[in-house]
């Protein structure tokens, strides 16, 4: 921030005055997205009273998005450090295909296959990080390139065909519904959310990552090992991408070389939308979770109302833009309020 286009979150006056409003009710704009979400839910409960509020629908909504949520959680780690990872969706696909190929074609036990898949993802992350930091190249193009290579490898692994018939165990581990008839993969995703949250808000690692993302030189002047952290972040994202791939195989019981790509843009959408909730302007796990389920709420509701598919598209895009605009407006509104008193 600078003297230019000042939008201070605190007027300097009450900085002198000492106290900054803190605690839960500071910055209402943090809850704009949640507000819209609730409004949306109420709307659909009224419009589709019999099916929308049903447990079946709830479990459907929560379960179906676990893969996307996990992927987005992986994405926000390098994003926090200021780096895009465009290869994460390809890693998901590769990982899924590896599990299927090893388990179905090679007859490996599925958990061994899963380990191999995650290790592969880890390796790709290491490669991404190596190229980005050692040669100091924009991760956007590096991960774009490596991602394409990974797609190529995927075609080799599955030999351009869909592999089905993955061990049902995996599906059970992902989809069985022990509590509240919500599939397990949802709980995994939430658990990961908590882990990332701990990492971001309660560890030095997370703090350093934050500084790297905000200003590399400042981070270095403060003795932060910038390159190493970016490297680690990119490794995390790829590894988590691979985990998402394993979960994905569990949910479909099969793997094909193309469908994974469809997750990339939604994952980015969720990450960015999430950065407008709870901790404005910072990528954060719970915000991402809210974003994912906000979007799926709208989509599912429209589906239940029997809306045309392009309507979903209009909603998806529109919601994205409007939600972001809204959090901005609320923000500046509440700032003006703070400034006057």
């Amino acid at each position: 921030m600078s003297i230019v286009d000042k939008t201070p979150t605190e007027s300097a006056d009450n900085v002198d005055a000492g106290r900054v409003r803190r605690g839960f009710f500071r910055e209402p704009e943090r809850f704009a997205l949640i507000g819209v979400w609730i409004a949306l839910i109420i709307f659909f409960v009224i419009m589709v009273p019999q099916t929308f509020p049903s447990t079946a629908n709830l479990s459907n909504m929560l379960g179906s998005q676990a893969v996307l949520l996990i992927l987005a959680l992986g994405l926000i780690i390098p994003l926090r450090a200021g780096d895009y990872d465009l290869s994460i969706a390809s890693v998901l696909t590769l990982s899924a295909v590896i599990v299927a190929a090893l388990n179905v074609n090679q007859g490996w036990p599925v958990w061994q296959a899963a380990i191999v898949a995650v290790v592969a993802g880890f390796a790709i992350g290491v490669l991404n990080g190596f190229i980005v930091t050692k040669f100091d190249i924009d991760p956007f193009i590096v991960t774009l390139g490596i991602g394409t290579v990974v797609v190529g490898i995927t075609y080799i692994v599955c030999n351009s065909a869909t592999i089905s018939g993955v061990d049902r165990i995996l599906s059970k581990v992902m989809l069985s519904k022990p509590f509240l008839s919500i599939p397990l993969d949802f709980y995994y995703a939430v658990a990961l959310c908590a882990v990332v949250w701990y990492l971001f808000d309660f560890t030095a690692f997370g703090q350093r990552l934050l500084f790297v993302g905000q200003n590399r030189d400042v981070a270095r002047l403060n003795g932060v090992a910038v390159s190493r952290l970016r490297w680690i972040a990119l490794t995390c994202s790829a590894t988590i991408g691979a985990v998402a791939g394993v979960v994905y195989v569990g949910t479909t019981g099969s793997a094909d070389p193309v469908s994974g790509a469809g997750f990339l843009l939604p994952a980015f959408a969720a990450s960015f939308l999430g950065s407008t909730a709870l901790r404005i302007g910072r990528f954060n796990p719970w915000g991402t979770l809210i974003a994912v389920y906000f979007l799926v709420t709208g989509i599912t509701g429209l589906q239940l109302m029997g809306a045309q598919q392009y309507v979903q598209q209009l909603f998806y895009g529109g919601a994205l833009v409007i939600a972001v605009i809204l959090s901005k407006i609320v923000r500046s509104r509440s700032e003006r309020k703070r400034l006057v008193k």
Binding site: A56, N60, Y155, R168, T251, G253, D256, Q303, Q309, Q312
Partner: protein, 366 residues
Amino acid sequence: GSSSSSTTSSSAAPSGSTSSSGTDAVAAAQATIDAAKAVPSAENLGTAIDVKKLAGKTIYSIPIDSKLEFYQVGEKAMKAIAEKAGLKYITFPSDGTPTSYQQGIAQAIAAKAGAILLNGPLPETLAPQIADAKAAGIPVIPLHLSDKSATPRTITPYEAFAPFNDGAKLSTLYSVVDLKGAPVKALVIEASGTGPSAGMVQTIKDTLASSAPAGSAVAAEINSQVPQWSTDIQPAVQSALLKDPSINAVIPIYDSMALFAIPGIQQAAADRTIGVYSFNGTPAVMKLIKDGTMRADVAENPDWVAYVNLDTAFRGMLDSGPIAGVSGPVRLIDASNVDETGNPPESGKGFGDAYPAAYQKLWGLG
């Protein structure tokens, strides 16, 4: 979005198996073609069933991507037929992602549907969800996924088949007739990601080996996954035609591919006469037959297909035992009969009007 097509010279079929002389082959092919140009008949549709029992039940259908023309037409037709038969019919607005199919099945189960139709999505990729449906006692019926020669899947005993291989065979034979005895050097465009692809390519190869002039063969194959058709097919076709000047026929297994292949041909081989022969009967493509850029298209009748699909669905719901090898008919469309498909061409036109009544009778509604 990078290139994902491939061109591999397939070894020409053993000439021993090829038919004796070019002229015989053409004559034989011509006969089959002429038969295929006629309006298909609506006889022997299978054993009668009583659909009245199903009145009030709901059918949930999950297309690959409810936005796409092909599925919209089909879904509309099935809805009309189902409602006429006294059932409710819901099309799940899927968006092409497996996630949306999973949601679709979950919603269908939640809604206690009478049957779930997979209009495109591969059952293998939904095994866990299909198991759930089974557990809930809901039959899941794949539609229009496998050739009628295929054996039904174990997880889905009821399946509505489609004449993919007939289509591949006919479009190949048309190229034989078209080339008047010259050996066919075909460029085949496939999409290995889709179910019928492998079978159709094999059929094309067999047809060229068995019923085409000696020396006919698949000169090159391009394999392009659906999302990359728009960016990859044209340049790949251009390269293939440059690489092998002997290519004199292009056979895209689905006619939507032709839309990207044709500009490639015009670019790379404007001077050569290369016919395009395909399968599906997409109106936009049949229109190209009118203006000559496309030689022949083996058309399906989505409306008829809809009857076949629902017939299978009803049998599944009644559990009256599947009937193997039944599918909707095809009609070969070329310049000579394209006008019967309407102007501009519409899907479903040109297949006569006998079949609806026939099915109503079959279902005990007529």
